[in-house]
Symmetry: C2
């Protein structure tokens, strides 16, 4: 895997991209020019194809971070008198609740324990209890802890009850399998800088065409109006407002590499191997994962912080960074943790190297107690 | 001036950037990492300094295109019961009217002829006529035609009447002089991919700190809540949501070059020379500018299209593109025009080359009649 010599980013995005992807940003593109607009069109087609969306679905790209696209999807698609169920087992679910509150959409904030997946049964019970719910907003992989929620089950519950499903698949799209024919949704949101391994700067919303076309005038914001963005793009092939041209060009080349690698199955296999190598290696150092293996997505892994009093995340982070690896802080409120991503243009060998870097950091920090009852051998 | 061999973009952004700026995108950055966040901090400081904002102003960067930042500024700063005067002499002013309508802010849509600048007197009369107006939203350089509006005059009118001023300085910031000490404003919006000569993907809002701090809970959108973005950034040094890391890194290097060149006065001098070389050369081919010289900003020039029946913009565009220059279509509804930008990492020599490319295109298209009564000499 070709890459530069920056520290490796073991975060849920931005992540380490290939040098080829970055080199695609060495050109300037005119946003009105046909050559650029054919790139946009090809990305839209390829993204829909990843979920087997066929002719019923379209892809609307949007400037900004993935969260912008999540807000745009909710604001454009959920009617103003709609009501959104948000099963919440982490920070990204909580963010959707906050979006609904800003947008004055009624919201059912359903807490699910952070170490347990949202399932079809949980959603079904909530839908049965409150028939006024019109939509479910579901985070696929909740990277707050690295939880894999049961998207297929949730989709079946929505289908059974006739509710709209909006999926935040930010950190799962292109890595975990999602097929709209078996996991029906109204819209699914992803971003350039996650498992497609592009650089950050734009989101993509895969959305049912007929539904989107019925949503003129529903959005709360001009910038976030996916209907307006879609209509303009269909008519002109251009983005409504200045696109992040270099980000778009990099995403095109990143998707080329995604296809060359073998698409979603191959990407999942690589990330799964990364995740296994990481968890194995860290276990040998005494680290325990926060989640049970069955619900651990191969995207990002939450580890309990060492129990040793010599541990501080800041020092641990900085010393591991000096060894070439950028870790990520934990996002849980109750337990001290840190996170290590498995995604990006990296392979299992890199994961073994990060374990080695962590081992050296532990030694340098004088940390002996990693988990409860686990004493590191003296070096 | 070092650049790659792409076609030169003679558009109001994205524009041609230096190779050095693009090469800054060959690194991946962690959005949580101190090294990256110090880049964000330094950009914020430098941007405030360009308008002499001192300690009273701060810069809040925002993901997305410049329009996103305009909407964010209006949505965050104008109270929900506020009323916005929009003097309108072009497409970008019209876009602000549309934003206000989406955001349910009362708006006074004041049409000014497209070939005439908005002045302090025009704004003063409108403010006197409707004391319920709370804010004026003023486009500095209206690139619909290339019009330089009288920002200083408008700012004085706002000061006199005690109204808030929000400036869309997208295409003027860093090129035309703006000093908040003499041209007071509540907020001024610019973007990475315009006269700072970075790549597109983020906006910046320069805003009065005390005012912004009073606007908690006012925004209509989580993504566009500048107050929330500001509070989080001040507290953590980080962006709230994934920043476009490569765009940010490129902007840092672009601002370095801006300073090395001599800052705003030097940039204005270069763009003015570009504009003069362009207008002179095009005049020799028979082209007339849409605007009078006194109100022509040295940012983008609107030319009347050739009157010859052999002219079509599409062919003219494509043939000039084949010669290495990307022009821009006109944006006026009443008159057939095209536009040529003067901004980006280009100099007057490049402008002479574009005139040469246009001359060759005219010849190839068999266009003899460029302006009324002006017959090109046979080649």
């Amino acid at each position: 895997m070709i890459r530069g010599n920056d520290p490796i980013l073991l975060t849920p995005g931005p992540l380490t991209t290939s040098l080829r992807t970055k080199q695609a940003m060495l050109n300037d593109w005119g946003s009105w020019d046909a050559a650029f607009n054919s790139i946009t069109a090809s990305i839209r087609r390829d993204v829909v194809e990843i979920v087997n969306g066929g002719d019923d679905y379209t892809c609307v790209p949007l400037q900004g971070s993935g969260t912008f696209s999540v807000e745009a999807a909710i604001g454009t698609l959920v009617p103003r008198d709609g009501k959104v169920l948000v099963p919440k087992n982490g920070a990204y679910c909580a963010r959707i609740v906050r979006i609904c509150e800003y947008l004055n959409r009624a919201v059912v904030d359903l807490t699910v324990p952070e170490d347990q997946p949202t399932t079809g049964a949980i959603v079904e019970a909530a839908l049965a209890a409150d028939p006024s719910i019109t939509h479910v907003a579901q985070v696929h992989c909740e990277t707050g802890a690295g939880m894999l929620n049961d998207l297929a089950g949730v989709a079946q519950a929505c289908r059974k009850h006739g509710k709209g499903l909006i999926v935040d698949a930010m950190s799962s799209f292109a890595a975990l399998p999602i097929d709209v024919r078996t996991t029906p949704f109204e819209a699914l949101v992803a971003a350039s800088g996650k498992c497609l391994e592009g650089v950050p700067g734009m989101g993509v919303v895969i959305v049912k065409k007929s539904l989107l076309e019925s949503r003129a005038g529903n959005a709360h914001s001009l910038a976030m109006d996916l209907h307006d963005q879609y209509v303009y793009m269909e008519k002109t092939t251009q983005w409504r407002y200045t696109p992040p041209t270099h980000v778009v060009a990099a995403l095109r080349v990143a998707i080329d590499q995604f296809k060359e690698e073998g698409g979603q199955p191959a990407r999942l296999a690589r990330y799964s191997a990364n995740c296994a190598a990481l968890i194995d290696g860290m276990a040998k150092l005494g680290f325990r994962t926060f989640l049970a293996p069955a619900v651990q997505a191969p995207i990002i892994v939450t580890f309990h912080a060492p129990t040793d009093t010599a541990y501080s995340f800041k020092t641990f982070y900085e010393m591991t960074r000096d060894r070439g690896y950028i870790l990520y802080p934990g996002k849980l409120t109750q337990v001290e943790t840190f996170r290590v991503g498995c995604i990006g243009a990296i392979d299992a060998n890199e994961m073994r190297n990060v374990v080695s870097a962590v081992e050296q950091t532990l030694k340098a920090m004088g940390i002996k107690q990693v988990g409860p009852g686990v004493q590191r051998k003296a070096a």
